[in-house]
């Protein structure tokens, strides 16, 4: 994979953040906003992986793993918070 190609891939994946941030800012239901932030975290994970291939340094993938874990927790916690009102031990049905 050539350097120019990877640069273009990083730019293309980074450009996807624009419409996602538009959804986060303008959507009227909060579940869609949580979904968009989740997708933003995952795409950022892909950007970090592409930077890893560019530099050849393995440490970027550690950052990608931590980012994926945080993105997962950052999806489950708001999803529980908006449905039950609590993150831990909320009642299931409203």
């Amino acid at each position: 994979m050539s350097e120019l190609f990877l640069d273009a891939a990083v730019l293309a994946l980074g450009a996807c953040a624009g419409p996602i941030l538009h959804i986060v800012a303008r959507s009227d239901d909060i579940a869609t906003q949580v979904l968009a932030v989740d997708l933003l975290g995952v795409l950022l994970c892909g950007v970090v992986a592409l930077v890893c291939y560019l530099t050849g340094s393995v440490h970027y993938l550690d950052a990608a793993l931590v980012l994926a874990l945080l993105s997962f927790a950052g999806t489950l916690a708001p999803a529980r918070a908006i449905s039950t009102g609590r993150i831990f031990g909320g009642r299931e049905e409203r």
Binding site: M1, A12, L13, L35, L39, L43, C45, A49, C52, R94
Partner: protein, 108 residues
Amino acid sequence: MSWLGGLVVVVGLVLALAAVVGLVRLEDVYQRVQAASLGYLGVTAILLASVATGDGKIIARALLVATFLLLSSPVAAHAIARAAWLRRQALRSKEAWDETGDLADPPR
């Protein structure tokens, strides 16, 4: 081997673009979770392209991240869709209906 890695990266980019287009174009959150899952698949494809680097350490960690993403994607999608259903968020798509009967039918 290099062109194969580039091909897999292009496939991942197309899937990520499809996820973003779906997130913008689809009508309610129940449809949008399905588009967002494509984004997970796209990033997984980009991580699988690490095979083209030929570095064992990079491949091992990329496979670890890809496995975690494949495991977490359905859990996150289910959590968001379930949260929307518990909030009784309305269906907006004309073709949709709720088999549990708890959500009102969308306007036809």
